[in-house]
């Protein structure tokens, strides 16, 4: 990206570091107040961080707490930065790196619409059964499947549906929670 033609003179050091990227899932507990999501998203766009997936919802409604789950990709130094940058925002209570703790469960839900008749319709149903996807809507020429699981399982299911008449997909993005008795 943006490779200069012949090492121009510049006010900045233009060489990028090329450490390998890692993907991390972060759980962020925030005060649910106007603008809080804009702050988080603005941080990512403003500082050039990646968002692979982001989900948010209020989780404790008396205390007005929301939980944001972000899947992001970057070098280890960038991932560390992201966590610190999130943590220093005023309405942020806690940032937990679910990937580092290594004891977390990640799930995503998708609704997958497939249309077709005959053999492909039967095959879609058979595969859905194997993936424990449920039929939540059906017509004589279509199904909507609901499937939950980790992201790669969902992607795999979608890939299998493609030749069988895949119409569209709606995915929630990743939610994550730690194993064991403790909260985050």
């Amino acid at each position: 990206m943006n490779q200069p033609a012949n090492q121009p003179a510049s006010a900045y050091f233009l060489e990028e570091r090329h450490d390998p990227n890692e993907t991390h899932t972060l759980s962020v507990l925030v005060q649910n107040e106007p603008g809080v999501l804009a702050r988080v998203i603005g941080l990512f766009s403003g500082r050039g961080y990646n968002i692979d997936s982001l989900t948010v919802s209020e989780t404790e409604n008396q205390k007005h707490l929301s939980r944001i789950t972000i899947v992001t990709t970057g070098t280890p130094m960038v991932i560390e930065q992201i966590k610190h940058q999130l943590d220093r925002m005023i309405p942020v209570y806690r940032v937990v790196d679910m990937t580092i703790t290594g004891r977390s469960i990640e799930r995503e839900l998708a609704m997958v619409k497939v249309s077709g008749r005959g053999d492909s319709r039967v095959e879609a149903l058979r595969l859905a059964d194997a993936f424990r996807a449920r039929v939540i809507d059906a017509t004589t020429e279509s199904f909507v499947f609901e499937i939950t699981g980790n992201s790669s399982k969902i992607s795999q299911f979608i890939d299998l549906m493609r030749p069988l008449g895949l119409v569209e997909v709606s995915r929630t993005g990743v939610a994550a929670i730690g194993r064991g008795p403790e909260g985050m």
Binding site: A9, H84, I90
Partner: protein, 591 residues
């Protein structure tokens, strides 16, 4: 039902704002009126505890508040109207965010029912200022206003200080609600800046320091922000350890320039000895600085052989640009206090005589040397003369941005913290003049000088009118080289001497301009003019525009050239045209 008319805490939103200012000990605010803040101006009119300084452009108010804050350690307060008033604040807010300056900016907003309607002078103030504030608030209910205002002051001045914005719609200013004085629970429970450093980390740091053979202390603006006590402790640490010390642009004055362990500023235009010491050290103690790219040069060649200790109140400063070995998160003053205690109890001064000998050889290169002249004033000479002339005065210096700023940092010796106000992180031309205003408001009897450039000073020149109105005798000392010198220097060094739009064409006559503003104009053309002219500038108790004509084509050295590390600086004596061309040719981009 309580009788509202007798309850002294029942008041309008506008009254609450003034009341909160008083409760936070605010004596001066900088601002500019407009439709969306008229109720607040009405309240200001009816009291005398808070003095309002009327600027000529909102950017001026912002920088004035920054100067006020930087020179006092107290938050600077700004009041501006909605729409253009708020957007004109974007530059000073960003400037304050970059340099960690506590500002509380109150903006008017269109009435709540009009928000989102593209109403007259509406803009999305909290949206626009979100990335350039530490935090901001839109207050939709008058009963939230007191809490938000108190929290705003706390957030601005605690932890790593920074600017905050409180956006108050006009109907909220008119509405009546309940005020309360500042309380603990005004602040988000999620906001808990860490002040005290981790004891284990401090022990590790002491062990490293005690074992050092080639140590250096590298301090920054965080020492100034932490308060005068931090500077005292820093000086004590230097004394107790005997270590050499350098500082960033923002940290000048924390350790005195006359101190025997002082190496001068480091970084792109820092001294040779400071940069070589950084490059060759085996233990680096970074105190309240952030390894900015103007400091490090090429990060992959930055101080390659050292173990690094980093004290900072902001965890996000740690390992951002440079990996460190011993991070200590906490307030600089607090951590230095603990560290000193442990050092004194458990360690003794390491013997670093040979290191000092090596440093002496670097010093001997005299990296700030310049050719003197009897015909033209060299800008470096002008600063030296200014420094001499102000000795014995209670002096504060602000600057604009450019060569003059670097020369000021190199040649003006700062002995105390809070005396040096400059736009470091953002590099905002136009900062220095209004910043000087703010400093002068806070220190009415002191000598406040803006070391300016001919181009920068035109960016906020209108504030001379403010200086005249409020009898603020600021001195604008313009190093007039008739160029955007710093731009010209880069074009010369990096762009084949094609001086694209860097000549200051059609400069105003600054002496006549001073006259037009009703202040004093002084000009110096020859070196022999300087002493007398400076004396006059200092003597006159009115605002001064000083047109100091300096050599037009002088460049700022030493300098770290393109793609080079600290140990490859270009020194002034070596900066012949050929050497410069060679140093920059095909350079891998750094400057």
């Amino acid at each position: 039902m309580t009788d509202q008319s007798n309850d002294p805490n029942q008041m309008t939103g506008a009254a609450m704002i003034v009341r909160a200012l008083i409760d936070h000990g605010v004596q001066h605010i900088f601002g500019y009126p407009g439709g969306a803040v008229l109720p607040i101006y009405d309240e200001i009119f009816q009291q005398s505890e808070v003095e309002h300084i009327l600027v000529r452009h909102e950017q001026g108010a912002g920088h004035a508040a920054e100067g006020y804050a930087r020179s006092t350690g107290k938050p600077g307060v700004v009041l501006v109207t909605s729409g253009p008033g708020a957007t004109n604040m974007v530059t000073p807010l960003t400037d304050a965010l970059m340099d960690s300056i506590p500002l509380v900016c109150i903006t008017g907003q269109v009435p709540t029912h009009l928000i989102g309607n593209d109403a007259f002078q509406e803009c999305d103030t909290v949206g626009i200022t979100r990335p350039c504030t530490k935090h901001n608030w839109l207050v939709r209910d008058v009963n939230d206003l007191a809490k938000v205002l108190h929290e705003a002051f706390y957030v601005a001045s605690s932890g790593r200080p920074g600017p905050v914005v409180v956006d108050v719609p006009k109907d909220v200013q008119f509405a009546v609600g309940t005020y309360h004085p500042p309380r603990k629970d005004d602040v988000h429970v999620s906001y808990t800046p860490r002040v005290k450093g981790d004891a284990t980390q401090i022990r590790k740091a002491v062990a490293l320091l005690a074992s050092a053979k080639r140590p250096v202390i590298y301090s920054g603006g965080g020492v100034i922000n932490s308060g005068p006590e931090a500077s005292k402790l820093l000086r004590e640490l230097v004394e107790v350890t005997g270590f050499p010390i350098t500082s960033t642009l923002m940290g000048l004055g924390a350790y005195p320039a006359s101190g025997k362990n002082w190496l001068g500023m480091l970084g792109m235009h820092g001294t040779y000895e400071a940069n070589m010491t950084m490059h060759g050290c085996d233990v680096m103690l970074c105190v309240g600085a952030r390894f900015d790219d103007r400091i490090t040069g090429r990060t992959d060649a930055f101080s390659p052989g050292s173990k690094k200790i980093h004290i900072d109140i902001d965890p996000s400063s740690i390992n951002k640009n440079i990996r460190v070995d011993v991070p200590i998160i906490g307030d600089v003053g607090n951590v230095l206090g603990d560290l000193l205690q442990v050092f004194k109890a458990e360690a003794k001064k390491p013997d670093i005589k040979t290191w000092w000998q090596e440093i002496a050889t670097w010093r001997a290169r005299n990296s700030l040397a310049y050719k003197k002249s009897n015909d033209v004033i060299l800008p470096q000479y002008a600063i030296q003369k200014l420094f001499e002339a102000t000795r014995g005065h209670d002096t504060y210096i602000t600057t604009e941005v450019g060569q003059h700023q670097m020369w000021a940092a190199q040649f003006f010796g700062f002995e105390e913290p809070h005396r040096w106000m400059t736009s470091g992180g953002l590099g905002t031309m136009g900062y220095g003049l209004p910043a000087a205003l703010g400093v002068q408001v806070a220190h009415p009897d002191s000598l406040v000088i803006d070391i300016a450039g001919d181009a920068s000073v035109q960016m906020t020149m209108q504030e001379m009118s403010t200086a005249v109105q409020f009898e603020l005798p600021i001195k604008i000392f313009i190093l007039n080289n008739q160029y955007m010198g710093m731009v010209r220097q880069w074009q010369q060094l990096l762009h084949g001497n094609r001086l694209s739009h860097s000549y200051s064409e059609a400069l105003p006559d600054f002496v006549k301009l001073a006259d037009a503003f009703g202040c004093v104009g002084i000009q110096a053309i020859k070196p022999s003019d300087l002493d007398g002219a400076l004396k006059e500038m200092i003597k006159v108790k009115r605002p001064v525009l000083f047109d100091c004509r300096v050599a037009a084509l002088e460049n700022c050295f030493p300098m770290i050239p393109s793609g080079k590390a600290h140990n490859e600086m270009l020194l002034p004596v070596e900066a012949t045209d050929e050497a410069t061309a060679a140093a920059f040719a095909g350079g891998k981009a750094l400057v």
